[in-house]
């Protein structure tokens, strides 16, 4: 490139200090990095919610404490659902690489069912807590609890919407390059939610029961 630049300037025309020929970027080449940076920013949102819970988590306002509310068996079941959905999404990725569209769809569907089971158990837990009067308005502990766990649940919900969308896309257009890229983004999103859940069950549930 420097040769071309110097040759042009020698000829007396306008010197060019940048690459002239169009630099070809294949479509979606930077998507994975961009999506990773989005996940990192999402990580900061959760870090703030964890910090809020860490500060307010002990302020019960003479209301119910973690020991009165949490059922660890239910949380263990919930954690199992999310962990299983992580490995089944991994299987979906492996079959996608082998271009087996039927198996990919099957694993995606199983992942979706595990995700749905997770959400169902979480909503049952929330409904049970609210029925007992442990609403988000009851104490600072409960406000921060519902915000943190609810935000995670909302992420899973949108992950499920995305999953169904991609299954329809894959059914209609097949495992095209674009669809593979989208499925890989969702894969990162899904595994990331599992990582956040590790923080939730450790800090909120397990340490809450020890308090």
């Amino acid at each position: 490139m420097s040769v071309a630049t110097s040759r042009i300037s020698v000829q007396g025309s306008e010197p060019v200090f940048h690459v002239i020929d169009e630099h070809d970027h294949p479509e979606g080449a930077s998507t994975m990095l961009g999506f990773w940076i989005y996940l990192m920013s999402d990580c900061l949102i959760f870090a703030m919610l964890f910090a809020t819970y860490g500060v307010l988590g002990g302020n019960y306002a003479a209301g119910p404490a973690p020991k009165d509310l949490f059922d660890l068996k239910l949380v263990a079941l919930n954690t199992t659902m999310l962990l299983l959905s992580s490995i089944t999404y991994g299987f979906a990725m492996l079959t996608m690489e082998k271009s087996k569209i039927g198996q990919t769809q099957l694993w995606l569907a199983i992942t979706g069912l595990f995700g749905l089971a997770f959400l169902g158990i979480e909503l049952t837990e929330f409904a049970h807590m609210i029925h007992e009067g442990a609403t988000p308005q009851r104490s600072a502990f409960l406000s921060s609890f519902f915000t943190l766990v609810g935000t995670h649940g909302l992420h899973v919900t949108f992950g499920l919407v995305w999953l169904v969308t991609l299954m329809v896309q894959t059914a209609r257009f097949g495992l095209t390059t674009a669809n593979r890229r989208r499925l890989m983004c969702l894969s990162m999103f899904w595994h990331f939610l599992d990582v956040v859940w590790i923080g939730v069950f450790t800090f909120v549930y397990l340490l809450g029961m020890l308090r």
């Binding site: 994975m32 870090a47 992580s86 990331f192 029961m209 020890l210």
Partner: protein, 129 residues
């Protein structure tokens, strides 16, 4: 020269691989990750639910360490984190995020803990008019 190499990139479907793109897992790595995750999840739940260790502080410490290990396991085996993918930029972004998270978390907890300690005693508030 540049045109040729980029033509090559766009011809094969996995152009991003040549740019040092996202790594892919194998069945073995997924299963290893899953096995480790199951153990690292089951042990803390078992510790807390049965109360095997009488000292709660020790239990809490073990639970926290296991969670940290499990997060690393998920990062490596499920999210395929390594120093090579995207020419190291994913690792850079993650290190930056971890630094931010540590500053925000420890800072918030530290400052708010000291605010709590230095607060006026709360039990007199109910007697006030």
């Amino acid at each position: 020269m540049t045109t040729d190499s980029h033509a090559l990139h766009s011809n094969d479907g996995h152009g991003h691989d040549d740019h040092g793109g996202a790594a892919h897992g194998s069945l073995k790595s997924y299963l290893i990750g899953f096995g480790l995750s199951v153990i690292l999840t089951a042990v803390p739940f078992w510790l807390v639910m049965t109360g095997t260790i009488a000292d709660k502080a020790v239990t809490a410490l073990i639970v926290l360490v296991l969670a940290a290990v499990q997060i690393v396991v998920h990062m490596v085996y499920f999210l395929h984190m390594n120093t090579r993918s995207e020419n190291g930029w994913t690792m850079m972004a993650m290190i930056f995020t971890v630094v931010m998270v540590v500053i925000a978390l420890t800072g918030s907890l530290w400052v708010m803990h000291h605010l709590n300690i230095n607060m006026m005693p709360m039990h007199d508030m109910s007697q006030m008019p």
